[in-house]
């Protein structure tokens, strides 16, 4: 597997320079998805929880950064605040809802995201349905990140950061406890693993990753709307996490990359002249759906863990 990491690292460093502008945007969005998916994969794989509301934390992060920078907070502070706010929100809602299991948690997280979106759409201070516009670029000590290339490397750094944090978490005492938690809760509880606290910790960390992705997104695009974070985005994250392999960091990265690239290829195919206007959405929905179903039924552990086992 070492060579795969090497290829990925070289690709992440070289690609931004060689990609065409439109492709660079896709690269950046891919990286942002990857950050949120690493968190979700951790939550689903290590805490055994299904969340259909991960994009809510992306939205929270994005709006935190956006609102702070509109109110003239230093952009770097606004960016750092994004994961913090998402994690805090996760702790607040996590205490009541993490007692739910399986489909109940799935629906509860979905409900929370829809509620958040409708609050944002109705809130004057958040720009309502139009959202926030004219957001400044990110700047650090007088250096302004105003090129796509800057954001590409920022995202590479972000993915690396969340992957390292996730790696540390997985290989810590907490990680071992979490594995026990996902496999046999009662046994873990009996052996003194603080199940509730660990589950909340993963939920918060997972939210922070999505929040950071949202923060970068806000500076990269310069505008935000509730419609940028639909329920479907959360489902997309789930597809990426499941396809790559739950609980696997490399799986999350691969899942995000694979789905983004496949959907992008199909979209460019579907926007060829002569194709009907509905072709891009039909094809991308079909791809999400079929990949998700095929992987759940035939590669239930996901691609990366399955490959690891057979190598």
């Amino acid at each position: 597997m070492k060579w795969a990491y090497a290829v990925a690292a070289v690709g992440a460093l070289v690609l931004p320079v060689v990609l065409a502008p439109g492709q660079l945007t896709v690269f950046i969005l891919l990286g942002l998805s990857a950050m949120a998916v690493v968190g979700l994969s951790l939550l689903m794989g290590y805490a055994g929880q299904v969340s259909l509301g991960q994009a809510a934390f992306t939205a929270l992060g994005a709006y935190t950064s956006g609102l702070l920078s509109l109110h003239h907070a230093p952009p770097l502070l606004a960016l750092v605040a994004a994961p913090v706010a998402a994690a805090l929100a996760a702790v607040v809602v996590g205490v009541p809802i993490l007692r739910l299991r399986g489909h109940q948690l799935a629906f509860a997280t979905l409900a929370l995201q829809i509620l958040l979106l409708s609050v944002l759409s109705g809130a004057q201070w958040a720009g309502g349905a139009v959202g926030l516009q004219g957001l400044p670029y990110l700047s650090v000590g007088g250096f302004e990140l105003d090129q796509d290339l800057d954001y590409a490397y920022l995202v590479v750094g972000g993915v690396l950061l969340v992957s390292l944090i996730a790696h540390r978490l997985v290989h810590s005492r907490v990680g071992r406890g979490l594995r026990a938690l996902a496999t046999g809760e009662m046994a873990a509880e009996a052996s003194g693993v603080p199940v509730g606290a660990y589950r909340l910790l993963v939920f918060a960390v997972s939210a922070a990753f999505a929040g950071l992705a949202g923060g970068i997104y806000c500076f990269f695009l310069g505008y935000l709307a509730p419609g940028s974070f639909p329920v479907l985005l959360s489902i997309e994250y789930v597809v990426m996490a499941v396809v790559g392999g739950l609980g696997s960091i490399a799986g999350a990265l691969l899942g995000a990359a694979l789905i983004t690239v496949v959907v992008q290829l199909l979209t460019s195919l579907a926007t060829q002249p002569g194709m009907p206007s509905y072709a891009p959405s039909v094809l991308s929905y079909a791809v999400y759906a079929l990949l998700l179903i095929a992987v759940v039924l035939f590669v239930p552990k996901g691609i990366v863990p399955t490959l690891r086992r057979s190598l």
């Binding site: 399986g102 079909a286 759940v296």
Partner: protein
């Protein structure tokens, strides 16, 4: 008739659609233990099919009936994919139905585009109340009544309950557990389709209406822990009436949040009670 009465009837009408969707979830969950996330898609597919059939000149009644039938058939397909492969856990089934819901988007946009659609319902009004709401209420009463009779009074219904209660024993007496599951999916699909067909004349439907519908149906059904049809009906009606009252007296902006908050409160309260029981 007064404003309040109007809101009540509208609310009960909406609530009927939620109760039908929720009952579909309950029938499927009881027999297969799968929470069918694609439940809202049955409603959307059924309703969109009716728009096409009516445009093709089919009379009312026939078009609606065929729409419901199609939803039932789609239910069987969903069941085959979600439970047909041996060893598929209910959790995996939930994710599969999530995928099927997204797949339905592709199908719906392909055939009907992404704009909202509607078709005329029963015209006219009685005392300021759209007659169509009365139709929704009447049809729901008959259909849920018939479903209750199916479960309580027929051997097929008993076999469904038996499969839900003890699949091993069901197999031991020769009940085909997989077929019962598919039958439950067919009933669930038809109930979902009926909800869509009934509600569309008073509330437009588009390909992504399924999320709001499945959430409302789940909210209705969660009151009875996804297993109690009676409480699902109560939950649906309660939800519809509260929504109509909120929409009428407060603001329509808060209408859709009612179901979500209701669901969260019920879920959290139930989990709290379960924790207490476990601690005791």
């Amino acid at each position: 008739m007064g404003e309040l009465a109007q809101y009540l009837v509208t609310g009960v009408g909406l609530g009927c659609a939620y109760a039908l969707t929720g009952s579909g979830l309950v029938v499927i969950y009881r027999v297969t233990r799968v929470v069918n996330f694609a439940q809202g898609s049955f409603a959307v597919l059924g309703a969109l099919t009716v728009t096409t059939l009516l445009a093709a000149g089919l009379p009312h009644g026939v078009a609606e009936g065929l729409g419901v039938l199609l939803a039932g058939l789609v239910g069987v397909l969903v069941g085959v994919v979600a439970t047909g492969k041996p060893g598929t856990t209910p959790q995996a089934g939930l994710i599969v139905t999530l995928g099927l819901g997204v797949f339905a988007y592709a199908v719906e946009i392909f055939f009907w585009g992404d704009q909202p659609r509607s078709f005329p319902g029963l015209p006219g009004a009685v005392g300021g109340i759209q007659t169509h709401y009365l139709l929704i209420i009447g049809v729901t009463a008959v259909v849920l009544g018939a479903t209750a009779l199916l479960f309580a009074r027929t051997d097929l219904g008993r076999a469904l309950t038996a499969t839900a209660a003890d699949p091993y024993a069901a197999r031991a007496v020769g009940i085909d557990v997989v077929r019962m599951g598919l039958f439950a999916f067919a009933v669930g699909g038809a109930l979902g389709g009926l909800a869509g067909v009934l509600i569309t004349p008073v509330q437009q439907v588009s390909f992504d209406s399924d999320v709001a519908l499945v959430v409302s149906g789940f909210s209705a059904a969660i009151l009875g822990n996804l297993t109690r049809p009676g409480l699902t009906l109560v939950g649906g009606l309660l939800l519809g009436v509260v929504q109509a009252l909120v929409g009428g007296y407060l603001s329509t902006a808060y209408q859709s949040e009612v179901a979500l908050i209701f669901m969260l409160v019920v879920l959290i309260a139930r989990a709290g009670r379960r924790d207490l029981v476990e601690a005791a």
